[in-house]
Symmetry: C2
Subunit: 237 residues, 2 copies
DNA sequence: GAGTGGTCTAGACCACATG
DNA sequence: ATGTGGTCTAGACCACTCT
């Protein structure tokens, strides 16, 4: 006999029905679900409709399919987290400190994989909280190219993505991130107006083109407890 | 005339064909793709097959559909990162320092949302690198329940997930993470054999049940540059 | 009214698993 | 030999948008 149905498209009710049964524990991780044809009978649906519901569960990674065998409930992974990072911090303002061309130091050479004599554009930025205290310091590096418009004069108020994007196919870009903790050195302490040795969260980003060329390198230092990163793993809802 | 095809299922070639055209810039973000029926002609495929290819692109978030209007190329988001975190660190070993029941301090009370008089099980663990140096220190807290077997005696060699899992519906659990930087205080410095004030990366995890009940709280302190977190955003491949 | 995507069906053929 | 999932088709109806 058909299971109780709810609303909306049929494949959606199949999806959510199975989903809730999985969460209720009716099917445990590793167990096999009923076959497609059994589900067809149970839901009075065609095979493609059933498959559509199963596909949803599959792309949610709640189940997986072993071809020619059946569908199985996944064992949850709690090691991959989705983390949101933007430089924007609630209630804070941002101001440019400096924009100019420089010869890269060793760290930047390594990050962008360029020789010491290739000019890079350096963007320095400060984030200031409502009380006027500096809470974050950001440095970004962009390899300089002749084709690029005169950055210093034109782009003082542009933000990094708006500068890098135009010269790239928008989709040729992905970003790699590295998160670490550092102690403020004397130079950082002066810029950020804190004590040398104060622990800072450091978020580095590498902007990468389709051809694996590095299009930009960004460092973001933030005083604690500001700018802590949050994320989720597993199945929400 | 049909576009050049490659191999495998038809919907896969539709998918990868469109995908590569998007990456090549043939369709820019915000632009509309050819309609389903146009794609049917171009690929000599049925509508459902074309839709299957489009669905792949959609779940990859490369395109989105505006119902009754058409499919559009997405504007990439570079703010959501997929970060992998496990306590395991390449080449290092792990050893238990302590497992026992305690009354929670304020931090743990807050994290687990429990009263001061509810016993929690505390697990302490050290990670040691090949040279024998302590590089990470982990603390985990689990609300104690009568139903639970005698933890101290039985579970000395079990790992945290294996302890928490059995008493939960496996899927009733998701994990929330918080990443920050801290300076080692005197107590941490002694445990981790480092100088007070040394910057440490702190990864906190909250294990959450389906009913929003907190099933566990974990802290992971790691010396730098060990255990830095890495992630990706955007479209790989 | 013509075109669009969203849903659904009832078939079909295939390659592979298991007994 | 039977059952499974993987692919594919040729229709169908709907609700909506655009003009």
């Amino acid at each position: 006999m058909p299971r109780t149905s709810k609303k909306g498209p049929l494949y959606t009710t199949i999806y959510s029905q199975l989903r809730s049964e999985i969460f209720k524990g009716a099917f445990l991780p590793g167990e096999m679900l009923p076959s497609e044809s059994q589900l067809c009978s149970e839901f009075q649906a065609s095979r493609e409709t059933v498959r559509k519901g199963l596909k949803e569960l599959e792309s949610e990674e709640l189940i997986y399919s072993r071809p020619k065998i059946g569908y199985f409930v996944s064992t949850p992974r709690h090691s991959d987290f989705t983390v949101n990072f933007t430089e924007y911090i609630e209630g804070c303002t941002t101001q440019y400190k400096n924009i100019h061309g420089i010869f890269p130091d060793e760290q930047v050479q390594k990050a962008l994989d360029i020789p010491p004599n290739q000019v890079v554009i350096e963007f320095e930025q400060l984030t200031i909280n409502p009380e006027g205290a500096i809470i974050a310091y950001s440095k970004k590096y962009l390899p300089y190219e002749r084709a690029h418009p005169s950055v210093e004069s034109e782009l003082n108020y542009a933000v990094f993505p708006e500068i890098t994007m135009p010269k790239l196919d928008t989709f040729s870009l992905y970003t790699s991130i590295r998160i670490s903790a550092v102690a403020a050195d004397d130079s950082l302490a002066e810029i950020m107006q804190c004590s040398p040795g104060e622990p800072l969260l450091l978020v580095e980003r590498f902007f990468i083109q389709q051809d694996e060329q590095l299009a930009g390198y960004a460092l973001f230092y933030v005083k604690q407890p500001y700018g802590q990163l949050n994320g989720m793993s597993g199945h929400r809802l």
